[in-house]
Symmetry: C2
Subunit: 353 residues, 2 copies
């Protein structure tokens, strides 16, 4: 019941336990080509989706080093731990960062973004976290896409924990780069990360002068198109699992998955409220399906509370950064059921008294 | 029968198919701490061994960006495809590269290295490939360690396909950085990579001014020491498999594994010679246990020949770069047996006529 890595269905785990195929042979090329096509349905894009072997942070870095150049001005909408990570990466690569920081638990204010675009004609990019795993906020991406659409500003979205269980439309929302990971909505163990790029983003890649090698996305595009391979040895077993996961998820359908997760998340939230918890995200419209984050005035140390529950077999996450010990973060990802939620609630209730 | 990724024993595959544990919880910390200790036995070092989620190329880049600074002079002993990759990475990061290039199939000449050290007092590092997978050459590492030992020059060794089946002694040979991967001697699928660093290397890391984030090794050292974790979500299932693989390999013992693979590789070579093949590596002392690379005057297109054999269920690798279509490269890695070799030889023999 953590907000990722998710539990992996047995079907997928068994598939990954089969004999390892070779990544430069025909069988793998077919698999990789098929799975790269499947991924387009999740991103809702006609662009190719690239698969890298690394964590979500790796592709966050890939977005920075491929799309921008030294000293270029970018806006980072910083609504939590993962917004902060974009600030750190962009600073490492000497970008000129406007750090638009909000209190944890809040989404961004669109008027602030409009104002910054207006007053910074040299702005080259906007980074935003779709689902902020550290707080449970789901930031509205479409509204920013309206602003960047007919400009030279690139819209870069971290949807590592956002995708699959929350709606995302790469092409329709005019996003230029989305990064995602295998271990959240995709029902897989961690180890793979994904990147989609718009035509505008690909043009920017031609100009970028930041150094990169393993994360050089041009090579991933070239290898996918020309050889149906990755430039460097991929995590083959995870790619095998990914095909299986895509089949399962697409069969269920993205719309019904998202509807199901909305219901489960709302149910979980309501049950927690009954026990005296308060939503950490006050604005109802800013709550995503990925997780529910809550506080409780009567629990002094949430991490101690979590440890007790963990001993009884229910793993949930705590607060990060300044909110260490102050939050419960309960995941609604993957193959979660109402029964899982009921068991979690029961365990929390038992230890609350 | 390719030179990696190796076949993965069923025992390890089953272990990886178990339920996914969470990477910030106590069970994982224990596992990661144990496996990090196990890895020291393979590297023969008292230093910590870091585990990253990426391919071997990722940690090649990590070695470059963590140990050096812009414009610093480094020697790259370039004996094949993977030596060339070091040249490309170091050039990407604007190091001053001395590219000491040898014909494919040859090892380096120690006198050349001595000469370069003598005439370049500002030399900061030497990069060398332990087992050059593109040719089958095993470069002597110890001889270079003697030269760099009491100097400020860092010795960086790519042992991605070298380790486990070939001897390597990090501490005794005065190596400063060894990088390795999960998918060769470690009996695992690809997706994990390893780095060991000497005290001298750690001091150099303090000076390095190259930009890095995902590959910033200081963070991996800090997280391993203080939290028994990785800074970013690791490929958990592969780490679980790694513990199982380490147990199996250490039980068998490195010495007996290496002896077994020497015998198997020699046997494979002799059988191929009987069929009219010639060793690509002429110098007997420069042949490693990782693979046997051979040519044949009567086979015009080795890749066509390979394709026929592949259809009958025996996968072997071909030449890379300028040697595309001109080589067979047959792996001796992993859980290979004499029976596997006999089957491969039989298949080759059948199609030779």
């Amino acid at each position: 019941m953590t907000p990722g890595p998710t539990n992996v269905p047995e079907e997928i785990r068994k598939k990954m336990a089969e004999d390892v195929i070779h990544h430069r042979m025909a069988d793998y090329k077919k698999l990789f080509s098929d799975v790269s096509e499947d991924l387009k349905h999740f991103f809702k894009t006609k662009q190719e989706v690239l698969t890298l072997t690394c964590s979500g942070t790796g592709v966050m870095e890939a977005a920075v080093v491929n799309l921008f150049s030294k000293k270029e001005k970018v806006l980072i909408i910083n609504t939590g731990n993962f917004g902060q990570r974009f600030v750190e990466i962009a600073t490492t690569y000497d970008l000129n960062v406007i750090d638009l920081k909000y209190n944890w638990g809040s989404t961004y204010n669109l008027e602030d973004v409009k104002e910054i675009i207006l007053t910074n004609p040299d702005l080259k990019g906007i980074f935003v976290t779709h689902s902020e795993t550290s707080t449970g906020v789901l930031n509205n991406i479409q509204s920013i896409g309206f602003l960047t659409k007919n400009t030279d500003i690139l819209l870069v979205v971290d949807s590592v924990s956002g995708m699959v269980v929350n709606p995302l439309e790469f092409d329709n929302w005019s996003i230029d780069c989305v990064i995602a990971g295998s271990q959240k909505g995709f029902l897989l163990p961690p180890g793979l990360a994904f990147v989609a790029l718009s035509e505008k983003a690909k043009k920017a890649m031609e100009r970028s002068n930041l150094p990169k090698f393993y994360f050089d996305l041009k090579k991933y595009i070239k290898f996918l198109k020309e050889k149906q391979e990755s430039p460097y040895t991929p995590a083959i077993t995870l790619v095998v699992g990914l095909k299986c996961a895509c089949d399962l998820l697409l069969e269920e359908g993205l719309d019904s998955i998202q509807l199901k997760h909305t219901k489960l998340r709302e149910y979980l939230g309501e049950e927690l409220i009954k026990l005296g918890f308060k939503y950490f995200v006050k604005d109802e419209k800013a709550r995503g399906n990925t997780l529910v984050a809550v506080t409780h005035t009567k629990i002094q140390d949430m991490d101690k509370f979590r440890a007790i529950i963990d001993k009884n077999g229910v793993s949930i996450a705590g607060g990060q950064g300044n909110y260490t010990g102050k939050l419960l973060r309960i995941g609604c990802l993957g193959k979660i059921t109402k029964a899982d939620i009921d068991r979690t609630i029961k365990e929390i209730k038992k230890n609350l008294i």
